[in-house]
Amino acid sequence: MSGAVLVLPVALPLLAAGLLSLLTGRRLRLLLGTAVNAGVLLVGGLLLKEGLDGRIPTASIGGWPAGLAIVLAADPFSALLVCVSAVLVLASLCFAAVCGEDGDPRFTSLVLVLAAGVYGALLTADLFNFFVFVEVMLVPSYVLLVVGSGRDPAAGRVYVTVGLLASTVFLAGVALVYGVAGTVNLGELAGAAERGPAFALAGALVLLGMAVKAAVVPFHGWLPRTYPQASASVTVLFAGLLTKVGVYAIIRVYAVFFAGMQQFRWVLMAAALATMVVGVLGAVGERTMRGVLSFDLVSQVGYILFGLALFTGLGLTAAVFFMVQYVLVKTVLFMCAGTVENLYGSDRLDGTGGLLRHEPLLASVFLVAFLSLAGIPPLAGFVGKLGLLQAAVAEEKYWPAAVALATSLLTLVAMLKVWSRVFWGRPSSSVTALAGVARARSALLAPALVLVVPSVAFGLGAEPLWRVAESAAGGLADVSAYVRAVTR
Protein backbone atom coordinates (compact mmCIF):
# COMPACT_ATOMS: atom_id res chain seq x y z
CA MET A 1 0.00 0.00 0.00
CA SER A 2 1.28 3.42 -0.92
CA GLY A 3 2.01 5.80 1.94
CA ALA A 4 0.08 8.52 0.14
CA VAL A 5 -3.18 7.42 1.79
CA LEU A 6 -1.73 8.84 5.01
CA VAL A 7 -2.50 12.30 3.68
CA LEU A 8 -6.20 11.50 3.31
CA PRO A 9 -7.26 11.69 6.99
CA VAL A 10 -5.97 15.28 7.06
CA ALA A 11 -6.81 16.41 3.53
CA LEU A 12 -10.33 14.95 3.22
CA PRO A 13 -11.90 16.68 6.25
CA LEU A 14 -10.20 19.99 5.39
CA LEU A 15 -11.44 19.89 1.80
CA ALA A 16 -14.91 18.88 2.95
CA ALA A 17 -14.94 21.70 5.51
CA GLY A 18 -14.23 24.19 2.73
CA LEU A 19 -16.87 22.66 0.51
CA LEU A 20 -19.42 22.68 3.34
CA SER A 21 -19.20 26.43 3.75
CA LEU A 22 -20.69 26.66 0.25
CA LEU A 23 -23.45 24.11 0.82
CA THR A 24 -26.81 24.89 2.29
CA GLY A 25 -29.11 22.28 3.72
CA ARG A 26 -28.61 20.55 7.03
CA ARG A 27 -29.12 17.03 5.76
CA LEU A 28 -26.51 17.51 3.04
CA ARG A 29 -23.96 18.85 5.53
CA LEU A 30 -24.53 15.94 7.89
CA LEU A 31 -24.26 13.47 5.01
CA LEU A 32 -20.96 14.89 3.77
CA GLY A 33 -19.55 15.17 7.30
CA THR A 34 -20.34 11.58 8.18
CA ALA A 35 -19.21 10.29 4.76
CA VAL A 36 -15.81 11.96 5.13
CA ASN A 37 -15.30 10.58 8.62
CA ALA A 38 -16.43 7.14 7.55
CA GLY A 39 -13.77 7.39 4.83
CA VAL A 40 -11.17 8.30 7.45
CA LEU A 41 -12.30 5.35 9.54
CA LEU A 42 -11.76 3.10 6.52
CA VAL A 43 -8.29 4.54 5.91
CA GLY A 44 -7.52 4.15 9.62
CA GLY A 45 -8.60 0.52 9.46
CA LEU A 46 -6.35 -0.12 6.47
CA LEU A 47 -3.41 1.56 8.22
CA LEU A 48 -4.05 -0.49 11.34
CA LYS A 49 -4.07 -3.70 9.33
CA GLU A 50 -0.74 -2.73 7.72
CA GLY A 51 0.64 -1.93 11.16
CA LEU A 52 -0.45 -5.27 12.60
CA ASP A 53 1.28 -7.00 9.70
CA GLY A 54 4.51 -5.36 10.84
CA ARG A 55 4.76 -2.58 8.26
CA ILE A 56 4.64 1.09 9.19
CA PRO A 57 3.27 3.19 6.30
CA THR A 58 4.98 6.58 6.00
CA ALA A 59 4.59 9.58 3.74
CA SER A 60 7.11 12.38 3.21
CA ILE A 61 5.19 15.54 2.42
CA GLY A 62 6.39 17.81 -0.36
CA GLY A 63 8.85 15.36 -1.87
CA TRP A 64 11.78 16.68 0.17
CA PRO A 65 14.62 14.27 0.95
CA ALA A 66 14.73 12.49 4.30
CA GLY A 67 15.65 14.74 7.19
CA LEU A 68 14.00 17.78 5.65
CA ALA A 69 10.57 16.43 4.77
CA ILE A 70 7.68 16.41 7.20
CA VAL A 71 6.94 12.75 7.80
CA LEU A 72 3.54 11.25 8.50
CA ALA A 73 3.70 7.75 9.94
CA ALA A 74 1.05 5.31 11.13
CA ASP A 75 2.30 2.70 13.55
CA PRO A 76 -0.42 0.57 15.21
CA PHE A 77 -0.76 3.03 18.12
CA SER A 78 -1.44 6.01 15.83
CA ALA A 79 -3.65 4.02 13.46
CA LEU A 80 -5.72 2.63 16.35
CA LEU A 81 -6.30 6.09 17.77
CA VAL A 82 -7.19 7.48 14.33
CA CYS A 83 -9.87 4.75 14.05
CA VAL A 84 -11.25 5.48 17.51
CA SER A 85 -11.22 9.24 16.87
CA ALA A 86 -13.09 8.77 13.59
CA VAL A 87 -15.75 6.72 15.38
CA LEU A 88 -16.10 9.44 18.01
CA VAL A 89 -16.38 12.24 15.44
CA LEU A 90 -19.02 10.24 13.56
CA ALA A 91 -21.01 9.66 16.74
CA SER A 92 -20.69 13.32 17.80
CA LEU A 93 -21.90 14.55 14.41
CA CYS A 94 -24.94 12.26 14.63
CA PHE A 95 -25.60 13.30 18.22
CA ALA A 96 -25.39 16.99 17.32
CA ALA A 97 -27.81 16.37 14.47
CA VAL A 98 -30.43 14.67 16.65
CA CYS A 99 -29.99 17.35 19.35
CA GLY A 100 -30.59 19.98 16.69
CA GLU A 101 -27.29 21.71 17.48
CA ASP A 102 -25.95 21.59 13.93
CA GLY A 103 -28.34 24.29 12.80
CA ASP A 104 -25.50 26.78 12.55
CA PRO A 105 -24.10 26.36 9.02
CA ARG A 106 -20.55 26.58 10.38
CA PHE A 107 -20.92 23.83 12.97
CA THR A 108 -20.11 20.87 10.71
CA SER A 109 -17.22 22.73 9.06
CA LEU A 110 -15.69 23.54 12.43
CA VAL A 111 -16.04 19.93 13.58
CA LEU A 112 -14.36 18.70 10.40
CA VAL A 113 -11.42 21.11 10.78
CA LEU A 114 -11.07 20.00 14.40
CA ALA A 115 -11.12 16.36 13.25
CA ALA A 116 -8.45 17.06 10.62
CA GLY A 117 -6.26 18.55 13.35
CA VAL A 118 -6.76 15.50 15.57
CA TYR A 119 -5.97 13.01 12.79
CA GLY A 120 -2.93 15.04 11.71
CA ALA A 121 -1.60 15.29 15.26
CA LEU A 122 -1.97 11.53 15.69
CA LEU A 123 -0.18 10.74 12.43
CA THR A 124 2.68 13.23 12.31
CA ALA A 125 6.21 12.25 13.30
CA ASP A 126 7.49 15.82 13.50
CA LEU A 127 7.28 17.92 16.66
CA PHE A 128 6.71 21.26 14.96
CA ASN A 129 4.15 19.77 12.63
CA PHE A 130 2.47 18.35 15.72
CA PHE A 131 2.24 21.89 17.13
CA VAL A 132 0.61 23.08 13.90
CA PHE A 133 -1.95 20.26 13.92
CA VAL A 134 -2.76 20.86 17.57
CA GLU A 135 -3.47 24.48 16.67
CA VAL A 136 -5.63 23.36 13.73
CA MET A 137 -7.53 21.30 16.29
CA LEU A 138 -7.71 24.03 18.97
CA VAL A 139 -8.81 27.03 16.92
CA PRO A 140 -12.17 25.49 15.92
CA SER A 141 -12.56 24.22 19.48
CA TYR A 142 -12.22 27.82 20.75
CA VAL A 143 -15.05 28.87 18.46
CA LEU A 144 -17.24 25.84 19.27
CA LEU A 145 -16.83 26.31 23.01
CA VAL A 146 -17.26 30.09 23.08
CA VAL A 147 -20.29 30.10 20.79
CA GLY A 148 -21.95 27.35 22.80
CA SER A 149 -21.10 28.68 26.26
CA GLY A 150 -24.05 31.02 26.59
CA ARG A 151 -24.32 30.22 30.29
CA ASP A 152 -20.96 31.57 31.33
CA PRO A 153 -18.91 33.81 29.00
CA ALA A 154 -15.96 33.59 31.40
CA ALA A 155 -15.59 29.89 30.55
CA GLY A 156 -14.73 30.77 26.97
CA ARG A 157 -12.06 33.22 28.12
CA VAL A 158 -10.51 30.68 30.47
CA TYR A 159 -10.47 28.02 27.76
CA VAL A 160 -8.87 30.20 25.10
CA THR A 161 -6.25 31.75 27.37
CA VAL A 162 -5.21 28.44 28.94
CA GLY A 163 -5.05 26.86 25.49
CA LEU A 164 -2.90 29.69 24.19
CA LEU A 165 -0.58 29.53 27.20
CA ALA A 166 -0.12 25.78 26.79
CA SER A 167 0.60 26.19 23.08
CA THR A 168 3.19 28.88 23.81
CA VAL A 169 4.96 26.68 26.35
CA PHE A 170 4.90 23.78 23.89
CA LEU A 171 6.28 26.00 21.13
CA ALA A 172 9.09 27.18 23.40
CA GLY A 173 9.83 23.53 24.14
CA VAL A 174 10.01 22.73 20.41
CA ALA A 175 12.36 25.71 19.94
CA LEU A 176 14.65 24.42 22.67
CA VAL A 177 14.58 20.91 21.21
CA TYR A 178 15.59 22.30 17.82
CA GLY A 179 18.22 24.47 19.49
CA VAL A 180 19.95 21.56 21.23
CA ALA A 181 19.31 18.74 18.75
CA GLY A 182 19.06 20.53 15.40
CA THR A 183 16.01 18.56 14.31
CA VAL A 184 12.35 18.15 15.20
CA ASN A 185 11.87 14.79 13.49
CA LEU A 186 10.84 12.35 16.20
CA GLY A 187 12.79 9.53 14.61
CA GLU A 188 16.05 11.47 14.73
CA LEU A 189 15.24 12.55 18.27
CA ALA A 190 14.90 8.96 19.50
CA GLY A 191 16.55 8.63 22.89
CA ALA A 192 17.75 12.25 22.70
CA ALA A 193 16.96 12.89 26.36
CA GLU A 194 19.71 10.44 27.33
CA ARG A 195 22.33 12.66 25.68
CA GLY A 196 22.30 15.20 28.49
CA PRO A 197 20.32 17.41 30.85
CA ALA A 198 19.83 20.14 28.20
CA PHE A 199 18.04 17.65 25.95
CA ALA A 200 15.92 16.29 28.80
CA LEU A 201 14.98 19.82 29.90
CA ALA A 202 13.88 20.79 26.39
CA GLY A 203 11.80 17.60 26.20
CA ALA A 204 10.34 18.32 29.63
CA LEU A 205 9.04 21.68 28.39
CA VAL A 206 7.34 19.91 25.48
CA LEU A 207 5.76 17.46 27.94
CA LEU A 208 4.70 20.36 30.19
CA GLY A 209 2.82 22.05 27.37
CA MET A 210 1.07 18.79 26.55
CA ALA A 211 0.31 18.08 30.22
CA VAL A 212 -1.79 21.26 30.28
CA LYS A 213 -3.69 20.08 27.20
CA ALA A 214 -4.18 16.64 28.74
CA ALA A 215 -5.45 18.22 32.00
CA VAL A 216 -2.87 16.47 34.16
CA VAL A 217 -2.92 17.65 37.79
CA PRO A 218 -1.79 20.36 38.68
CA PHE A 219 -2.73 21.79 35.27
CA HIS A 220 -6.30 20.47 35.27
CA GLY A 221 -8.25 23.43 36.66
CA TRP A 222 -9.42 24.72 33.30
CA LEU A 223 -11.19 21.55 32.20
CA PRO A 224 -13.96 21.13 34.80
CA ARG A 225 -14.38 24.91 34.67
CA THR A 226 -15.05 25.03 30.92
CA TYR A 227 -16.36 21.71 29.57
CA PRO A 228 -19.72 21.73 31.42
CA GLN A 229 -20.39 25.22 30.06
CA ALA A 230 -20.20 24.23 26.40
CA SER A 231 -23.27 22.96 24.61
CA ALA A 232 -24.09 19.26 25.08
CA SER A 233 -22.89 17.98 21.71
CA VAL A 234 -19.70 20.07 21.85
CA THR A 235 -18.81 18.49 25.22
CA VAL A 236 -19.45 15.07 23.68
CA LEU A 237 -17.02 15.93 20.88
CA PHE A 238 -14.34 17.40 23.16
CA ALA A 239 -14.48 14.69 25.82
CA GLY A 240 -13.05 11.91 23.70
CA LEU A 241 -10.76 13.87 21.42
CA LEU A 242 -8.99 16.95 22.77
CA THR A 243 -7.36 15.82 26.00
CA LYS A 244 -6.56 12.46 24.38
CA VAL A 245 -4.34 14.17 21.81
CA GLY A 246 -2.41 15.63 24.75
CA VAL A 247 -2.18 12.19 26.35
CA TYR A 248 -1.09 10.68 23.03
CA ALA A 249 1.69 13.27 22.76
CA ILE A 250 2.90 12.59 26.30
CA ILE A 251 3.02 8.85 25.59
CA ARG A 252 4.73 9.26 22.22
CA VAL A 253 7.30 11.81 23.38
CA TYR A 254 8.11 9.84 26.52
CA ALA A 255 8.47 6.61 24.57
CA VAL A 256 10.57 8.06 21.74
CA PHE A 257 12.34 11.20 22.94
CA PHE A 258 12.91 9.97 26.49
CA ALA A 259 13.12 6.29 25.45
CA GLY A 260 11.12 5.49 28.60
CA MET A 261 14.00 6.61 30.84
CA GLN A 262 13.89 4.97 34.26
CA GLN A 263 15.01 8.05 36.19
CA PHE A 264 12.01 10.22 35.25
CA ARG A 265 9.29 7.60 35.64
CA TRP A 266 8.59 8.62 39.24
CA VAL A 267 7.59 12.11 38.01
CA LEU A 268 5.04 10.55 35.67
CA MET A 269 3.82 8.22 38.41
CA ALA A 270 3.40 11.11 40.86
CA ALA A 271 1.49 13.10 38.23
CA ALA A 272 -0.65 10.05 37.38
CA LEU A 273 -1.61 9.36 41.00
CA ALA A 274 -2.29 13.04 41.76
CA THR A 275 -4.43 13.29 38.63
CA MET A 276 -6.46 10.21 39.60
CA VAL A 277 -7.09 11.29 43.17
CA VAL A 278 -7.71 15.01 42.64
CA GLY A 279 -9.97 14.33 39.66
CA VAL A 280 -12.15 11.80 41.41
CA LEU A 281 -12.45 13.87 44.61
CA GLY A 282 -13.60 16.80 42.49
CA ALA A 283 -16.11 14.57 40.75
CA VAL A 284 -17.68 13.48 44.03
CA GLY A 285 -18.38 17.10 44.93
CA GLU A 286 -19.97 18.30 41.69
CA ARG A 287 -23.65 19.17 41.34
CA THR A 288 -24.37 18.60 37.66
CA MET A 289 -24.02 15.46 35.57
CA ARG A 290 -21.56 17.04 33.20
CA GLY A 291 -19.63 18.55 36.12
CA VAL A 292 -19.14 15.09 37.62
CA LEU A 293 -18.18 13.64 34.25
CA SER A 294 -15.68 16.45 33.51
CA PHE A 295 -13.83 15.98 36.79
CA ASP A 296 -13.92 12.25 36.24
CA LEU A 297 -12.36 12.80 32.81
CA VAL A 298 -9.35 14.30 34.60
CA SER A 299 -9.22 11.31 36.92
CA GLN A 300 -9.22 8.75 34.10
CA VAL A 301 -6.32 10.50 32.34
CA GLY A 302 -4.36 9.51 35.44
CA TYR A 303 -4.95 5.80 34.69
CA ILE A 304 -3.48 6.11 31.20
CA LEU A 305 -0.41 7.91 32.59
CA PHE A 306 -0.21 5.21 35.28
CA GLY A 307 0.39 2.60 32.58
CA LEU A 308 2.94 4.86 30.88
CA ALA A 309 4.79 5.46 34.15
CA LEU A 310 5.22 1.70 34.62
CA PHE A 311 6.62 1.48 31.07
CA THR A 312 6.52 -2.31 30.94
CA GLY A 313 5.00 -4.25 28.07
CA LEU A 314 1.95 -5.16 30.13
CA GLY A 315 1.58 -1.63 31.55
CA LEU A 316 1.67 0.01 28.12
CA THR A 317 -0.71 -2.58 26.65
CA ALA A 318 -3.17 -1.99 29.47
CA ALA A 319 -2.80 1.79 29.08
CA VAL A 320 -3.60 1.63 25.35
CA PHE A 321 -6.51 -0.75 25.97
CA PHE A 322 -7.80 1.45 28.77
CA MET A 323 -7.51 4.59 26.64
CA VAL A 324 -9.53 3.10 23.76
CA GLN A 325 -12.37 1.67 25.84
CA TYR A 326 -12.48 4.70 28.11
CA VAL A 327 -12.92 7.38 25.42
CA LEU A 328 -15.89 5.38 24.09
CA VAL A 329 -17.44 5.00 27.53
CA LYS A 330 -16.84 8.64 28.39
CA THR A 331 -18.49 9.79 25.19
CA VAL A 332 -21.51 7.59 25.98
CA LEU A 333 -21.79 9.12 29.45
CA PHE A 334 -21.60 12.67 28.11
CA MET A 335 -24.26 11.72 25.54
CA CYS A 336 -26.50 10.46 28.35
CA ALA A 337 -26.00 13.75 30.21
CA GLY A 338 -26.73 15.64 27.00
CA THR A 339 -29.89 13.60 26.45
CA VAL A 340 -31.12 14.28 29.99
CA GLU A 341 -30.43 17.98 29.46
CA ASN A 342 -32.15 17.90 26.08
CA LEU A 343 -35.28 16.17 27.38
CA TYR A 344 -35.59 17.71 30.83
CA GLY A 345 -33.91 21.07 30.36
CA SER A 346 -31.19 20.59 32.99
CA ASP A 347 -28.58 18.08 34.04
CA ARG A 348 -28.47 19.33 37.64
CA LEU A 349 -28.40 16.43 40.07
CA ASP A 350 -31.08 17.96 42.30
CA GLY A 351 -33.36 19.04 39.46
CA THR A 352 -34.23 15.60 38.18
CA GLY A 353 -34.96 12.23 39.70
CA GLY A 354 -36.65 8.94 38.99
CA LEU A 355 -35.74 8.96 35.33
CA LEU A 356 -35.49 5.18 35.46
CA ARG A 357 -39.28 4.97 35.33
CA HIS A 358 -39.66 7.25 32.32
CA GLU A 359 -36.44 6.53 30.43
CA PRO A 360 -35.58 2.85 30.97
CA LEU A 361 -33.37 2.65 27.88
CA LEU A 362 -31.38 5.80 28.74
CA ALA A 363 -30.98 4.54 32.29
CA SER A 364 -29.69 1.15 31.19
CA VAL A 365 -27.19 2.68 28.74
CA PHE A 366 -25.95 4.96 31.52
CA LEU A 367 -25.76 2.04 33.94
CA VAL A 368 -23.62 -0.10 31.60
CA ALA A 369 -21.33 2.84 30.79
CA PHE A 370 -20.77 3.89 34.38
CA LEU A 371 -20.16 0.35 35.57
CA SER A 372 -17.58 -0.01 32.80
CA LEU A 373 -16.00 3.30 33.84
CA ALA A 374 -15.77 2.14 37.44
CA GLY A 375 -14.24 -1.15 36.29
CA ILE A 376 -16.91 -3.70 37.16
CA PRO A 377 -16.57 -7.09 35.41
CA PRO A 378 -17.41 -8.25 32.79
CA LEU A 379 -17.19 -4.83 31.09
CA ALA A 380 -14.20 -3.45 29.19
CA GLY A 381 -13.19 -1.03 31.94
CA PHE A 382 -12.50 -3.99 34.20
CA VAL A 383 -10.09 -5.57 31.71
CA GLY A 384 -8.16 -2.31 31.34
CA LYS A 385 -7.91 -1.70 35.08
CA LEU A 386 -7.03 -5.30 35.83
CA GLY A 387 -4.17 -5.07 33.31
CA LEU A 388 -2.92 -1.85 34.88
CA LEU A 389 -3.02 -3.32 38.39
CA GLN A 390 -1.30 -6.55 37.29
CA ALA A 391 1.44 -4.50 35.65
CA ALA A 392 1.89 -2.42 38.81
CA VAL A 393 2.05 -5.50 41.04
CA ALA A 394 4.53 -7.17 38.68
CA GLU A 395 6.76 -4.11 39.15
CA GLU A 396 6.20 -4.32 42.92
CA LYS A 397 4.54 -0.91 42.96
CA TYR A 398 2.01 -1.80 45.65
CA TRP A 399 1.21 1.71 46.90
CA PRO A 400 0.38 3.12 43.45
CA ALA A 401 -1.76 0.03 42.80
CA ALA A 402 -3.62 0.65 46.06
CA VAL A 403 -4.22 4.29 45.11
CA ALA A 404 -5.55 3.21 41.71
CA LEU A 405 -7.92 0.75 43.38
CA ALA A 406 -9.16 3.35 45.84
CA THR A 407 -9.72 5.77 42.97
CA SER A 408 -11.83 3.14 41.24
CA LEU A 409 -13.97 2.87 44.34
CA LEU A 410 -14.38 6.65 44.52
CA THR A 411 -15.30 6.70 40.81
CA LEU A 412 -18.06 4.28 41.66
CA VAL A 413 -19.18 6.57 44.51
CA ALA A 414 -19.26 9.61 42.22
CA MET A 415 -21.19 7.78 39.52
CA LEU A 416 -23.57 6.21 42.05
CA LYS A 417 -24.34 9.71 43.26
CA VAL A 418 -25.42 10.61 39.73
CA TRP A 419 -27.33 7.34 39.41
CA SER A 420 -29.25 7.74 42.65
CA ARG A 421 -30.09 11.41 42.16
CA VAL A 422 -31.00 11.35 38.47
CA PHE A 423 -32.27 7.87 37.71
CA TRP A 424 -33.29 6.30 41.01
CA GLY A 425 -36.05 7.39 43.34
CA ARG A 426 -39.41 9.02 42.82
CA PRO A 427 -39.84 11.24 39.76
CA SER A 428 -40.32 14.92 40.61
CA SER A 429 -43.42 16.66 39.31
CA SER A 430 -41.49 18.57 36.63
CA VAL A 431 -39.98 15.30 35.37
CA THR A 432 -43.38 13.66 35.13
CA ALA A 433 -44.72 16.67 33.26
CA LEU A 434 -41.82 16.67 30.78
CA ALA A 435 -41.79 12.90 30.38
CA GLY A 436 -45.23 13.06 28.79
CA VAL A 437 -43.98 15.35 26.02
CA ALA A 438 -43.45 13.33 22.86
CA ARG A 439 -39.83 13.52 21.73
CA ALA A 440 -37.61 11.58 19.37
CA ARG A 441 -36.10 9.60 22.22
CA SER A 442 -34.85 6.66 20.19
CA ALA A 443 -32.98 8.98 17.81
CA LEU A 444 -31.36 10.82 20.72
CA LEU A 445 -30.22 7.56 22.24
CA ALA A 446 -29.06 5.82 19.08
CA PRO A 447 -25.45 7.18 19.04
CA ALA A 448 -24.96 6.30 22.72
CA LEU A 449 -26.48 2.88 22.18
CA VAL A 450 -24.07 2.13 19.34
CA LEU A 451 -21.04 3.33 21.30
CA VAL A 452 -21.90 1.37 24.44
CA VAL A 453 -21.80 -1.92 22.52
CA PRO A 454 -17.96 -2.03 22.35
CA SER A 455 -17.61 -1.59 26.11
CA VAL A 456 -19.65 -4.77 26.57
CA ALA A 457 -18.07 -6.55 23.61
CA PHE A 458 -14.48 -5.67 24.58
CA GLY A 459 -15.26 -6.80 28.12
CA LEU A 460 -16.61 -10.23 27.19
CA GLY A 461 -14.26 -10.68 24.24
CA ALA A 462 -11.25 -8.55 25.12
CA GLU A 463 -8.83 -10.64 23.10
CA PRO A 464 -8.94 -8.84 19.69
CA LEU A 465 -8.56 -5.32 21.14
CA TRP A 466 -5.97 -6.59 23.62
CA ARG A 467 -3.90 -8.02 20.73
CA VAL A 468 -4.03 -4.69 18.89
CA ALA A 469 -3.13 -2.85 22.09
CA GLU A 470 -0.24 -5.29 22.61
CA SER A 471 1.05 -4.54 19.14
CA ALA A 472 0.71 -0.78 19.72
CA ALA A 473 2.48 -1.07 23.08
CA GLY A 474 5.22 -3.17 21.48
CA GLY A 475 5.88 -0.27 19.13
CA LEU A 476 6.18 2.08 22.11
CA ALA A 477 8.41 -0.13 24.26
CA ASP A 478 10.76 -0.78 21.35
CA VAL A 479 10.71 2.24 19.06
CA SER A 480 13.37 0.98 16.62
CA ALA A 481 10.84 0.01 13.92
CA TYR A 482 9.12 3.40 14.21
CA VAL A 483 12.44 5.23 14.11
CA ARG A 484 13.57 3.27 11.03
CA ALA A 485 10.31 4.01 9.24
CA VAL A 486 10.38 7.71 10.09
CA THR A 487 14.02 8.45 9.28
CA ARG A 488 14.14 6.37 6.12
Binding site: R157, A172, A175
Partner: protein
Protein backbone atom coordinates in the same frame (compact mmCIF):
# COMPACT_ATOMS: atom_id res chain seq x y z
CA UNK B 1 23.79 37.57 23.85
CA UNK B 2 20.92 39.85 22.78
CA UNK B 3 18.46 36.99 22.11
CA UNK B 4 18.38 35.56 25.67
CA UNK B 5 18.02 39.05 27.14
CA UNK B 6 15.18 39.81 24.74
CA UNK B 7 13.42 36.54 25.56
CA UNK B 8 13.83 37.21 29.27
CA UNK B 9 12.40 40.73 29.03
CA UNK B 10 9.49 39.61 26.85
CA UNK B 11 8.59 36.70 29.15
CA UNK B 12 8.80 38.93 32.23
CA UNK B 13 6.54 41.54 30.63
CA UNK B 14 4.17 38.91 29.30
CA UNK B 15 3.79 37.14 32.64
CA UNK B 16 3.29 40.47 34.42
CA UNK B 17 0.50 41.49 32.03
CA UNK B 18 -1.23 38.08 32.04
CA UNK B 19 -1.46 38.14 35.82
CA UNK B 20 -3.23 41.52 35.80
CA UNK B 21 -6.96 42.05 35.79
CA UNK B 22 -8.63 43.04 32.56
CA UNK B 23 -8.82 41.02 29.40
CA UNK B 24 -7.06 43.57 27.18
CA UNK B 25 -3.96 43.44 29.41
CA UNK B 26 -4.06 39.64 29.26
CA UNK B 27 -4.18 39.75 25.47
CA UNK B 28 -1.18 42.08 25.36
CA UNK B 29 0.57 39.75 27.78
CA UNK B 30 0.03 36.91 25.34
CA UNK B 31 1.35 39.06 22.49
CA UNK B 32 4.61 39.53 24.43
CA UNK B 33 4.78 35.88 25.51
CA UNK B 34 4.27 34.48 22.02
CA UNK B 35 6.88 36.95 20.75
CA UNK B 36 9.28 35.50 23.31
CA UNK B 37 8.58 32.01 21.98
CA UNK B 38 9.13 33.24 18.42
CA UNK B 39 12.47 34.85 19.28
CA UNK B 40 13.48 31.65 21.03
CA UNK B 41 12.54 29.67 17.94
CA UNK B 42 14.49 32.02 15.68
CA UNK B 43 17.52 31.85 17.97
CA UNK B 44 17.38 28.04 17.99
CA UNK B 45 18.91 28.01 14.50
CA UNK B 46 21.99 29.81 15.78
CA UNK B 47 22.42 33.57 15.90
CA UNK B 48 25.97 33.75 14.52
CA UNK B 49 25.22 32.95 10.86
CA UNK B 50 22.97 35.60 9.37
CA UNK B 51 23.51 35.50 5.57
CA UNK B 52 20.40 34.88 3.42
CA UNK B 53 19.79 31.13 2.99
CA UNK B 54 19.61 31.27 -0.82
CA UNK B 55 21.84 29.11 -3.00
CA UNK B 56 24.38 31.24 -4.85
CA UNK B 57 23.71 34.35 -2.75
CA UNK B 58 25.99 33.53 0.14
CA UNK B 59 28.67 31.21 1.40
CA UNK B 60 26.91 28.07 2.77
CA UNK B 61 29.04 28.30 5.92
CA UNK B 62 27.56 31.73 6.68
CA UNK B 63 23.96 31.03 5.69
CA UNK B 64 21.28 31.29 8.35
CA UNK B 65 19.32 28.12 9.12
CA UNK B 66 16.13 28.45 7.07
CA UNK B 67 14.09 25.89 9.01
CA UNK B 68 13.49 27.98 12.18
CA UNK B 69 12.51 30.89 9.95
CA UNK B 70 9.82 28.74 8.39
CA UNK B 71 8.76 27.63 11.89
CA UNK B 72 8.54 31.21 13.10
CA UNK B 73 6.50 32.28 10.10
CA UNK B 74 3.98 29.52 10.84
CA UNK B 75 3.93 30.30 14.55
CA UNK B 76 3.41 34.02 13.92
CA UNK B 77 0.42 33.34 11.69
CA UNK B 78 -1.16 31.04 14.28
CA UNK B 79 -0.62 33.34 17.24
CA UNK B 80 -1.76 36.35 15.22
CA UNK B 81 -5.02 34.57 14.41
CA UNK B 82 -5.58 33.56 18.02
CA UNK B 83 -4.83 37.11 19.24
CA UNK B 84 -7.38 38.54 16.83
CA UNK B 85 -9.89 35.98 18.08
CA UNK B 86 -9.25 36.98 21.71
CA UNK B 87 -9.67 40.65 20.84
CA UNK B 88 -12.92 39.96 19.00
CA UNK B 89 -14.18 38.06 22.06
CA UNK B 90 -13.56 41.21 24.13
CA UNK B 91 -15.32 43.32 21.52
CA UNK B 92 -18.39 41.05 21.40
CA UNK B 93 -18.61 41.05 25.19
CA UNK B 94 -18.37 44.83 25.38
CA UNK B 95 -21.05 45.40 22.76
CA UNK B 96 -23.27 42.86 24.51
CA UNK B 97 -22.83 44.69 27.80
CA UNK B 98 -23.63 47.97 26.14
CA UNK B 99 -26.78 46.46 24.64
CA UNK B 100 -27.77 45.16 28.08
CA UNK B 101 -27.41 41.54 27.00
CA UNK B 102 -25.91 38.70 29.00
CA UNK B 103 -23.15 39.73 31.36
CA UNK B 104 -20.85 37.73 33.56
Amino acid sequence: MSAPVLVGVLVAGGVFLILRRGMVRVVFGFVLLTHAANVLLLASGGTDRRRPPLVGKADPALMADPLPQAFVLTAIVITFGTTVYLLSMIHVRRSEERAGGPSG
